[in-house]
Symmetry: C2
Subunit: 310 residues, 2 copies
């Protein structure tokens, strides 16, 4: 029997039910369902986990509710700089891109880099040039304009403090990321992550989302992981690969490894984070130490699950 599964996230943070309207909640849930269903249909038609995670992330990138692609936040200069990465657990091939502007779907560019370049990681103008050479879709600045993101930006500019502001509210804004992990019918794992960065970010800051090992990792022998949370800490702790290394070298389960990383290692240093992961046995973990994480999953023999809060 076919054993397939997919999980997606739309970011973790201080997502409070008290601040959510029923309509907004319904919008988030139906958006997650759309992305998950498309990924699931791909897996169901025996296509690859790579295709499934790419497509699920692409749909989340096209949705202004999430901080990735169309919904990307504003940088200090009022631009939208996006990062993404994708990894194939079968070949350990990967593609990463950071600080790109006007690319409609950074996850498609990450895959293009993986498959059509001699490199793993391209950045900025050079990456845009590579995208143009391969006819990837560009969008004008207006496409990425969103009234809510713009007000966040103006507010941040005025205070000039978002980056240092660790109020609960600002943390929600900071941790916007989308991601997907999947297992296909051939037993191949894949992971993808995409983000629009931090509101009012300066100095060409890069977080964990484009970095293999930090924000994204996939290996058929262990698991596929996509992270969301404090990018600075993920970079230093090599979080996504750490889940895989714990499974491989300690011989523990996906759930034990993911829990150890998020609830012991990350919680110990008071960092708010979450991750989704799937292993070769189709076990799915969606773990976070924040108030909430936009998330959804479906797998063989199990109904669709869509959740926001704990």
């Amino acid at each position: 029997m076919k054993n397939i599964g997919i999980a997606i996230h739309g970011g973790a943070g201080t997502i409070l039910k008290s601040k959510m309207t029923p309509q907004k909640e319904a919008d988030f849930k139906s958006s997650l369902e759309d992305a998950l269903t498309e990924g699931w249909n791909i897996l169901n038609s025996n296509k690859s986990s790579l295709d499934a995670v790419e497509r699920a992330v692409e749909i989340l990138e096209n949705n202004p509710l999430f901080n990735a692609g169309k919904g990307s936040v504003f940088t200090h200069e009022g631009k939208h700089e996006m990062d993404a990465s994708i990894m194939d657990g079968k070949t350990l091939n990967a593609g990463c891109v950071s600080s790109v502007c006007n690319i409609k779907n950074p996850v498609l560019l990450a895959r293009l880099i993986m498959e059509k370049s001699d490199f793993v990681y391209l950045n900025g103008k050079g990456a845009e040039e590579f995208a143009a050479k391969h006819n990837l879709v560009f969008e004008k600045n207006e496409y990425f304009f969103d009234e809510y993101r713009y007000s966040q930006y103006l507010n941040a500019l005025e205070k000039d403090s978002v980056i240092l502001d660790h109020s609960d509210e600002d943390k929600t804004k900071k941790f916007g990321t989308v991601g997907a992990v999947a297992l296909d019918s051939k037993g191949n794992l894949a992971a993808a992550t995409s983000t629009g960065g931090m509101t009012n970010k300066k100095f060409g800051r890069i977080g964990d989302s484009p970095i293999i090992g930090a924000g994204t990792y996939a290996n058929n022998f262990t698991c596929a992981v996509s992270c969301t949370g404090n990018g600075e800490y993920f970079l230093r702790s090599v979080t996504a690969y750490d889940v895989s290394a714990l499974m491989e070298y300690r011989n523990i389960s996906l759930n034990e490894a993911a829990k150890f990383v998020v609830q012991v290692k990350l919680k110990a240093i008071k960092k708010k984070n979450g991750l989704i992961a799937i292993d070769k046995y189709n076990n799915i973990s969606m773990i976070f130490n924040t108030k909430g994480m936009y998330r959804a999953s479906i797998k063989t023999g199990k109904d669709i699950e869509i959740k926001i809060y704990k």
Copy 2:
């Protein structure tokens, strides 16, 4: 008794004795000795391993023999784009920088990012802006001009093939990196890596050198690592952190972990690489599967060791 140690590298690759003159060999060796000795003196005066690795890498960056800082190769556009990273094994703090031009010492910028910004990883123009704000030394393009590097560049441009050219000679050119790892008298480990990238590189390519976990990693509980070799593979295999994870999760020695990573994992996929590492017990490993690696080390109770070939 004080137990301190430091190891440095100036890149691994197809370094053939048959292509080396006695003068060139002597130049490389005395350059390595200069950098090592400065790092050693810092450790000997009870200063931190962080200071020692930073200074050793800074000296290598100032030497045109090595592909980092002053000796950086030319990109496709005829620029010098540099990457560096540094990590403190005590705090797990880190600083990373990529694609910066005209910065005299990228390793100093990496440390500045670690200590004076809220971020871990800055890139390109934004990182240069941050450097300027903190009065870091900039140099004009002429400072980075080197006749030999320029002829490599013209040759690569003419063939437009360096990136794909896997001839032995070109591999030497590609794998230029410098790095240092050290243990100080307080038992703190640190690592730093710096590179001038690949000759004729395009599209804003980023390798492993600025990435924590890939090219650089340090953790007082395990080891400090700096890699040199195929950056694309290091990114995908999370090489530097892998040595640490093997020690921590499998409870094996530094030497066993480093050998497993370089001689089993990397050799299996025919990737030519090397790394230097030091652990909390002051064991030093300098391992590579190439013809040579510019390397040097010194530690309490052991004489200075400077080597190029196997």
